[in-house]
């Protein structure tokens, strides 16, 4: 599949010994880690043994739905936490319960989530785990069966979205088509490109390249850059259809 890999891919996903620095190389188990891509705006989560183990569970076709939801949610929380790190803060001093002064920071700027329906909605729980009362907008984009191009069906967004930072949610970024269309919708509502953070579990190198070069100021947080796309534009090895596995809408 790597035949179609774009030039921006520095390194395809490949086997590597992984583990913490205190372990000897031969003590580290081998596993396939994320590819690397040449964009400063693309942030891949650190390929720790724990993250790989979580991905292994959700990629496994024999994983039951309950486990799929639980373990994907853990990765989503990590994505949200990493995404939130890109939001601005301001110096802020407080007094501790023991009466000491603590030189800390305060969160700046309002945020909101926007999920690309339907799969993106499966990431809302993880977002709420970290940001309790966050507003969440929705955008419904579906692939037109005739043209195989994405088509906007519906959106509902906070009125003041132009003043907010947006965490855009979609677990799988295959061709980058839906995500691009969603970003266009947001920009049309006045959201600045640099204020959009796209949170995503697994991306194809092609889709990511397409998306990242189209929106050079937009930041992408992903857990894994996979091998590539198959002839049906599914990410491989991937994890199948995220929405189907999460919502249980697969044929048994």
């Amino acid at each position: 599949m790597s035949t179609t890999a774009p030039d921006t891919v520095v390194e395809g996903c490949a086997a590597a010994p992984i583990g913490p620095s205190y372990r000897e190389k031969d003590e580290k188990p081998q596993a396939t880690v994320s590819g690397k891509i040449k964009f400063d705006t693309v942030h891949v989560l650190p390929q720790t043994p724990q993250l790989i183990a979580l991905l292994t569970i959700i990629r496994d076709k024999n994983t039951q739905r309950g486990d799929f939801i639980f373990y994907s949610n853990r990765i989503i929380r990590l994505l949200v936490e990493e995404g939130l790190n890109h939001l601005p803060v301001k110096e802020h001093e407080v007094t501790t319960p023991l009466g000491r002064t603590y030189a800390g920071v305060r969160f700046e700027g309002k945020i909101c989530g926007v999920s690309i329906m339907r799969a993106g909605e499966s990431m809302e729980q993880g977002l709420r785990d970290c940001c309790r009362s966050v507003r969440i907008g929705k955008i419904l984009i579906q692939r037109d069966e005739d043209t195989s191009q994405p088509k906007l069906f519906y959106h509902k967004l906070p009125n003041d979205i132009a003043d907010r930072w947006v965490l855009l949610l979609d677990p799988m970024n295959a061709t980058g088509g839906s995500a691009s269309m969603a970003v266009e919708v947001l920009k049309g509502k006045g959201v600045a490109e640099e204020r959009i953070l796209f949170l995503n579990l697994i991306a194809s190198p092609e889709g990511l390249e397409h998306f990242a070069s189209k929106f050079p100021k937009l930041r992408v947080i992903t857990a894994f850059i996979d091998e590539g796309l198959d002839d049906k534009n599914y990410i491989v090895p991937g994890l199948g259809d995220f929405g189907d596995r999460h919502f249980g809408t697969l044929n048994d």
Partner: protein, 476 residues
């Protein structure tokens, strides 16, 4: 009959041990059957007023009987009152473990069957004082070696007989004739031959034992009143001396141990921490959470929300320190993916009470995680941590363990908790210590004493300010 603390001088030598805070003080109490050993032990426990005193009866160490011996026993013809009836090898072995602060499995002896109960033991772990009570507590030279204090309860044999009869008939369902026969055939001769001579091994002899009036029948009242009035005060005074002596020994031990920890702290401050210590990267978001948590104006609802959020992150980080092995899977597209899986089950161990603040975070990451608990409390007088309660899965040695405590101060409690886990068969390298804030000194000590231990902390404090996180989290 005052013998004095003849062998007490060996106590300070024990301080050279590297882990002297778990050097259990063992007190032996010997004396004839019915002499009042149990009462003396109970009196000691009461006067010491410490929660971690254990009384161990030598009855647990009777040898198992073969069928022929068993037959004799059921006919009241087996000599249970000779030293040969006791399995001193096992006793010595267990005492050595207890002395070294290790877990000891004590056999459970069934008097009905004259056998040890199969697969049944009582666990003794990390008591600071153990009282070994039995007619031959001061008999075996190997046991004498291990005793910090040796007490002989010296009671007139008429009183012993009276008490023994009362006890055998009343609570052990024997008839008077059988009990008397036992006394004359075995107990009395053995007393002269083996029990009484132990008095020369004692540091202190307590005349008459403690009053135990209720067990003795009315027909003895006359006799009792004369002896009790003449000797009871003497006995009580002796018990007081024993108590004072033990308290002094424990205090000296604590001081020496705390001094050692302090010295260790000075040394480790100069050494950099190894890779086994992970402090979370202080990202803007993390600093923001710290600020909310540290702010005294933050209400409890927010505090709990942000603490749980941070503790999930910490647990995720700690999971990275576990051991993993390669695992190949097929995706729904029938493509192989070479991934990883955790090499063994995870067990959380909460250091009570404060470690409980991590339980929500732990369950968010490992929902079916087994959770053990241990209660350490600082001694009010010495400031030294003491183990008060321990409940962990029996096969904890097969787990990778997350040890949870939100704050590390001097590191003394943390050192003890790790030590407890190691004593229960957990490999040092399989323990990850998880904490919210640790002092530099505390981290350094843990890192220096247990080089294989992994530590994950959310922040490092220059100096200890005090424990407060559990108070705010639990609201009391």
């Amino acid at each position: 009959m005052w013998v004095g603390f003849t062998s007490a001088k060996h106590l300070p030598d024990e301080l050279d041990r590297s882990d002297d805070w778990i050097d259990t003080q063992i007190i032996g109490i010997a004396g004839s059957s019915g002499s009042g050993k149990t009462s003396v032990a109970a009196q000691l426990v009461k006067r010491l007023n410490l929660p971690w005193v254990v009384v161990l009866s030598m009855d647990s160490f009777y040898k198992e009987l073969n069928p022929a011996q068993s037959k004799l026993a059921f006919e009241n013809n087996y000599d249970f009152d000779a030293p040969t009836a006791i399995d001193f090898d096992i006793l010595v072995d267990r005492l050595q473990d207890i002395k070294a602060g290790k877990k000891a499995e004590i056999p459970v002896y069934s008097f009905e069957k004259h056998q040890r109960e199969r697969d049944k033991t009582t666990t003794i772990y990390s008591c600071h004082v153990l009282i070994l009570e039995g007619i031959f507590a001061l008999y075996d030279p190997r046991v004498l070696e291990l005793l910090d204090m040796k007490i002989f309860v010296d009671t007139d044999s008429d009183i012993c007989l009276a008490r023994r009869l009362a006890r055998d008939v009343k609570s052990r369902g024997r008839d008077v004739r059988g009990a008397l026969q036992q006394w004359h055939r075995f107990v009395k001769p053995n007393f002269e031959l083996y029990v009484r001579p132990q008095m020369k091994n004692a540091d202190i002899a307590i005349p008459r034992g403690i009053d135990n009036i209720t067990a003795i029948g009315v027909w003895l009242q006359c006799l009792r009143s004369t002896i009790v009035t003449s000797n009871a005060n003497g006995g009580t005074r002796r018990v007081d001396m024993v108590v004072k002596h033990i308290q002094r020994a424990l205090r000296t031990k604590s001081e020496a141990h705390l001094k050692k920890i302090a010295e260790l702290g000075e040394r480790v401050l100069e050494k950099p921490l190894t890779d086994n210590v992970t402090v979370l990267e202080q990202t803007p978001q993390l600093r923001g959470i710290h600020t909310i948590l540290q702010d005294r104006m933050t209400n409890r609802e927010d505090f709990i929300f942000y603490f749980d959020r941070l503790s999930s992150l910490l647990v995720e980080k700690a999971m990275d320190r576990m051991t993993f092995t390669t695992q190949q899977v097929l995706t729904p597209l029938d493509r192989p993916y070479m991934g990883l899986r955790c090499a063994s089950a995870i067990c959380g161990v909460v250091i009570l009470r404060s470690g409980g603040v991590f339980e929500i975070g732990l369950k968010r990451v490992v929902p079916d995680c087994k959770i053990g608990r241990l209660l350490l409390q600082s001694n009010i007088r010495t400031g030294e941590p003491e183990l008060h309660h321990l409940k962990v899965p029996p096969n904890i040695g097969k787990h990778q363990v997350l040890l949870l405590d939100p704050q590390i101060a001097s590191g003394a409690a943390a050192l003890m908790a790790v030590r407890v886990l190691k004593d229960h068969g957990v490999e040092e390298g399989n323990i990850v210590f998880l904490t919210y804030m640790a002092t530099k000194v505390g981290l350094g000590r843990l890192n220096a004493v247990f080089p294989e231990l992994k530590i994950v902390a959310a922040s490092v404090e220059e100096e200890w300010a005090g424990r407060w996180i559990d108070e705010k989290y639990f609201g009391c």
